[in-house]
Symmetry: C2
Subunit: 320 residues, 2 copies
């Protein structure tokens, strides 16, 4: 049976899975990323795990490897200055893993891989124009236009989280101010809770939790209990997101925005204000044309599926 390996590289853990063309994960291993300060040894470990998983499956042929990595550049196959990884500088990761595994390797960033996964196995099946938005520690995005992932001239297209939505707004890790992800992400909504608490005073259970240790789940739980501050924080988060998505729609006219990640799991709390503000700010000619959907890969290992989908796509194109 033909499979590819999907590799999800994270700062703490790396997950490697063998995936069929239909999206079935036949085997999966977890590697401690931090145990490999030497990236060559890390690539050897991935290659060894791929080979040993394949050996245990009858007639298994590994066709290639797809990788989703923070700051991954599709064009060059490099991981560039990723703040949460132990390897510093520009790492020619695809080349290194290609040598270690003797397999064709494709690499991109995690949000792009998730978008390809959604197109092959999830909510974007048969769509040619959509945007996947991941709402986690940051806000990541993958844009598909005309059936193709958009990489741009540098390979770094699709940084929706770093669109500046408030001039001189909140400080962002990128060194600038007012980026979307400082408002719309798990830490973003917690920052908004701080802002709302300052306005409303302490009549909220959230005032009892240190902001640094508060999670978006805490905010969602409080909102579900009817907490006014938590509900207002979701309202504001959805408002900023919805208005930004209306602007993005004027640029790429997608069939859908697909939300993924912890904050998306808050369901109606985030979907309702986002949908409302997106539609009420939409260019008239596009009104009603853009759907707001939940990812269909939230329960499964989306990152490994996305990386595998990248590998299948590039193999089919004859690129790798």
């Amino acid at each position: 049976m033909d499979v590819v390996a999907g590799v999800d590289i994270g700062g703490t853990n790396t997950v490697v899975g063998l995936v069929t063309r239909e999206g079935e994960i036949l085997a999966e291993r977890r590697i401690d990323t931090t145990a490999y300060p030497d990236v060559d040894l890390f690539c050897d470990a991935i290659a060894a795990n791929v080979a040993s998983m394949a050996e245990r499956i009858d007639d298994c042929l590994v066709r290639g490897i797809g990788i989703g990595a923070p700051n991954g550049n599709y064009y060059s196959g490099t991981i560039e200055e990723a703040p949460n990884l132990v390897w510093k500088g520009i790492i020619p990761f695809a080349d290194l893993l290609g040598s270690a595994s003797r397999l064709p390797v494709s690499l991109t960033n995690d949000a792009n891989a998730a978008a390809i996964g959604e197109m092959m196995y999830g909510a974007a099946r048969h769509m040619r124009d959509f945007v996947l938005v991941t709402l986690g520690t940051g806000l990541g995005s993958g844009f598909v236009t005309g059936g193709e992932l958009m990489y741009g001239s540098t390979g770094f297209a699709g940084e929706l989280g770093h669109v500046i939505v408030v001039q001189n707004g909140r400080r962002c890790g990128c060194g600038r101010r007012g980026c979307l992800e400082t408002y719309v992400s798990a830490p973003g909504i917690v920052r908004t809770v701080g802002e709302v608490l300052a306005e409303y005073g302490w009549r909220s259970d959230l005032a009892a939790i240190p902001l640094r240790s508060m999670t978006s789940r805490d905010v969602a739980d409080a909102a579900a209990q009817g907490d006014v501050v938590a509900r207002e924080a979701f309202e504001r988060t959805g408002t900023v997101l919805g208005r930004t998505l209306a602007n993005i729609a004027a640029i790429t006219s997608p069939e859908a925005f697909i939300l993924f990640g912890g904050l998306a799991a808050s369901g109606r709390l985030i979907f309702e204000p986002t949908q409302r503000e997106m539609e009420s700010n939409m260019l008239p000619v596009l009104k009603g044309s853009v759907r707001l959907l939940m990812s269909k890969l939230m329960e499964s290992n989306a990152a490994v599926l996305g990386a595998a989908a990248l590998a299948w796509t590039d193999l089919d194109k004859g690129i790798v």
Copy 2:
């Protein structure tokens, strides 16, 4: 010799040209658009002009027709609710002209056609990722990503002029408020002159011209004379444009933004503040990666060349 017809449909005049693959315009005719309230007769007139121009050229074979039209939809070949044209509703223009001429017809909006023209004949030759921005009565744009014009799911992608840049900002013809084109366009800079005059008082020659009859050329002439109000109006216009382009770069990561049209012809007055604000607001990983260029088709009949380039492109793809 093989040629295509490039057709530039405007509210007042329509220009039809015969264009070689290399971008030479062999013949050109002007048709009074307003003389044809019946769109069928208008299509007959275009077809007749194409045929009679071709007859006067030795061995001339017309391969197809490309059209740039306001509110033109590439997918359906329709012109939809164009406010400045006499034909109301949704006009199946490509089909009508196809029947009248018995030639393959491609149609898109004028900014998209200009982008394809720039890619085939102008400043974007060999570029796979760029954005053409037309600064005229409105702000139009054509996005090319991965070598392909971006149409989106509706055919109406690339409406950069209708990105909302100021919440509750200036009233726009689209019915919403704060759209980029209310700030950055020929009428947009005149509106800004009104704003600056209100702040600075009447110590400017521009205070002697009624705003309704003021042109962006008047503002450029005054700025060239050192008029403080005119210079401030260009500063503010370039600031809004530059910040927006930095945000767009985070989405599509283009190799270049190419400016076209009357306001672009103001040269340094608009380029300097735009370039400065674009670069100073640019996401660090993209700094220095995006060029700001002047169209290379400003002196020629860009609209006819763009429409012709669309026809050649679709013929080469075997789409029409």
